[in-house]
Amino acid sequence: MRNRLKVLRAERNWSQADLADKLDVSRQSVNAIETGKYDPSLPLAFKIAAVFSLPIEQIFSADEVAQAAE
C-alpha cells in the first residue's frame, strides 16, 4: 500500500513526533507507515484521515491503483 503521509505532514509543518502525538502512537510507528514498511490497521488509517481532515482514499492507495495512475 502507498500513502502520502510524508507530503501531507510536510504541508502542515508537522514533525513525525507531532503527528505521532496527534495519533497517540510512537514516532517509530509514523516512520514505519511513511516509509511503507508497515500498513496501518483500518481504525488507525481512519484516525490518520481524521487528523488530516481528508478522505482515506486521498491518503492511502493500493500499489496497483497508484501504479495505474502514474
Partner: protein
C-alpha cells in the same frame, strides 16, 4: 527487558523496567530465602517442594508486567514485540532441545532449567532490536 520508543512506548517501557526490577528483586529474595530455609532446616520433602516453587509467585508478577507492557503499546510496536517473542520462543525451544541432546548424547554438563526464563528474556531483547532494524 524489551525496550521501547517515544510517545506511546516510552512511559510503558519505563513502567515495565520499574515493575520488572521490583518483581525481580522480590523473586531473588524469595529464591535466596527458600534456598537458605531448605538448607538450614532440612524440612520434609513436601515442604521443601513448596518452598522451592514459592518464588514462582513473584515471578508471575514479571509476566503480569510484560502483559501490561504489551497492552500499552500501539499496534505497530505490538507487532514488533509479537514477532520478537515468537523469535525468542523459537530460539529457546530449539536451543534447549539441541542442548538436551548434547547432554544426553555428547556428555555435555547438565544445566539447570532455571536458566531458561532468563535466557528467554535476553533473547527477547536481542530479537526486539533485530526486528526493529527491519523497520529503520
Amino acid at each position: 527487558m524489551s525496550n521501547c520508543s517515544e510517545s506511546a512506548g516510552k512511559p510503558a517501557a519505563a513502567r515495565l523496567f520499574r515493575d520488572m526490577f521490583g518483581a525481580g528483586m522480590i523473586y531473588l529474595t524469595a529464591v535466596l530465602g527458600a534456598g537458605l530455609a531448605i538448607k538450614g532446616f532440612a524440612p520434609p520433602q513436601w515442604l521443601a517442594a513448596l518452598l522451592a516453587v514459592a518464588p514462582i509467585a513473584p515471578a508471575l508478577l514479571m509476566l503480569a508486567a510484560q502483559l501490561r507492557y504489551m497492552r500499552a503499546l500501539d499496534e505497530f510496536q505490538r507487532g514488533v514485540q509479537s514477532e520478537a517473542v515468537l523469535i525468542a520462543a523459537a530460539v529457546i525451544a530449539f536451543g534447549t532441545l539441541a542442548y538436551g541432546q548434547l547432554e544426553d548424547m555428547a556428555g555435555f554438563p547438565d544445566l539447570s532449567m532455571m536458566w531458561v526464563f532468563p535466557a528467554f528474556c535476553v533473547v527477547w531483547s536481542a530479537a526486539t532490536l533485530f526486528v526493529r532494524l527491519r523497520y529503520k
